[in-house]
């Protein structure tokens, strides 16, 4: 069946819509949306257990040295995330102030993969309360630690973004940022695959970066998961 060769050659015959390159490069000189300044505007509070409060009114910190260290770690990680250099957070969160329902909603929201979006109704279904989409929206609207608990990945079922604590414009920017930032990156020379933002991954040279869709995919072509950031234990 060398028909297969013929079929594939025909199937993969190159062709592109007119003006593709012009359209693609039109935005090349536009300034990248500025998210970098956001991290300085954030107020980040932490307890010794983790980050407990993030809002846009500056300042913050912690009552003790370990708490302050966690707040600083959160600021550093959020800065890297907004700069497209990180796709996950290692800093712990302290959600002790949340009620039982809100804690379940926030916990479920944390499981939404980087760059993915889920509807309010779907999140309600996932916590076993399919009729509580509106309550889910309220719980996310009062998210004590936005960005780290990614409530921006929850959108309305009709395809519009819906409300966001930091404003809809920022929600759009964060989702666009996540669309153009990979989550799993392998190094072509060491054949190790890391979560984007892992200390090892940050040292991989640009021309050695290979993106994968899952750890299984990476393993199927001879890569192994990093032992430091352990990409195999994340949801995808």
């Amino acid at each position: 069946m060398d028909d297969l060769e013929t079929t594939l050659t025909r199937y993969f015959r190159p062709g592109a819509p007119r003006g593709l390159v012009d359209r693609a490069l039109r935005g090349a000189h536009a300034d990248a949306p500025d998210l970098a300044g956001l991290v300085e505007r954030l107020r980040i509070d932490a307890t010794e257990r983790g980050v407990s409060w993030i809002r846009q009114d500056g300042g913050g910190g912690g009552a003790t040295a370990p708490a302050r260290r966690l707040a600083e770690q959160a600021r550093r990680e959020i800065g890297e995330y907004l700069d497209g250099r990180r796709a996950f957070f290692t800093v712990p969160v302290d959600l002790a102030g949340a009620g039982e329902f809100q804690a379940r909603v926030l916990d479920e929201a944390r499981r939404i993969g980087f760059g993915e979006v889920v509807s309010y109704a779907e999140l309600a279904r996932r916590i076993g309360r399919p009729r509580a989409a509106r309550a889910v929206g309220n719980a996310l609207g009062a998210n004590p630690v936005p960005v780290i608990v990614p409530c921006h990945r929850v959108v309305r079922g009709d395809g519009t973004w819906g409300h966001y604590l930091f404003g809809e414009r920022l929600k759009t920017r964060l989702l666009a940022l996540e669309r153009s930032t990979p989550a799993l990156v392998g190094c072509a020379t060491t054949r190790i695959v890391c979560r984007h933002g892992c200390a090892h991954e940050q040292r991989v040279r640009e021309d050695r970066r290979v993106v994968f869709a899952s750890v299984e995919d990476a393993e199927s072509v001879g890569y192994r998961p990093c032992r430091a950031c352990r990409p195999a234990v994340i949801a995808h």
């Binding site: 297969l4 079929t7 199937y11 190159p14 935005g27 993969g113 760059g115 640009e206 021309d207 199927s220």
Partner: protein
């Protein structure tokens, strides 16, 4: 690499980049978006382009990274609510269905191999994998396609 050289290179490869993206992602809008993101990324990095690399390898590596990451975001039906992709109107239905059964990595290698005739060595460089892995992935991909095309419903997997 200066701006004009880059623009010429982009024109030269546009059709091939688009076809790889279209066959990976299955619809025109996502394919065009993937090519755009690839070209913008390479354009921004054009000064650090090293002639040690073939320009095609450089572009295909970037395109593969974008397409694979796009596929990562696509979850099984019902799991997420991204805007539904437009139906792939002009694809031969059988081949599109068969192609969807081929694992992502093999599908990408098949697309690069058949769109631009990349050698095993080139494919290995694009994905940062060994030549033996390239060969085994291509063989596996073709076996799955063959079985799917011949048997219709059977996906050819053991």
């Amino acid at each position: 690499m200066d701006e004009r050289t880059f623009a010429r290179l982009a024109e030269e490869y546009a059709a091939r980049l688009y076809t790889v993206a279209f066959r990976m992602l299955g619809n025109r809008a996502d394919a065009e978006d993937a090519v755009q993101r690839t070209l913008l990324k390479c354009f921004a990095a054009r000064r650090s382009y090293s002639p040690r690399w073939a320009a095609s390898t450089w572009l295909y590596r970037a395109l593969a990274n974008v397409c694979i990451d796009e596929l990562r975001r696509r979850r099984p039906a019902g799991a997420a609510a991204p805007p539904a992709p437009a139906p792939p109107a002009v694809e031969p239905v059988d081949l599109a269905r068969a192609r969807d059964r081929v694992p992502r990595e093999a599908r990408l290698l098949l697309a690069l191999r058949y769109v631009d005739g990349l050698s095993y060595q080139d494919l290995a460089r694009v994905r940062g994998i060994s030549i033996n892995t390239v060969k085994s992935q291509l063989a596996r991909g073709k076996a799955i396609l063959k079985a799917a095309l011949a048997g219709g419903g059977d996906d050819g997997r053991p």
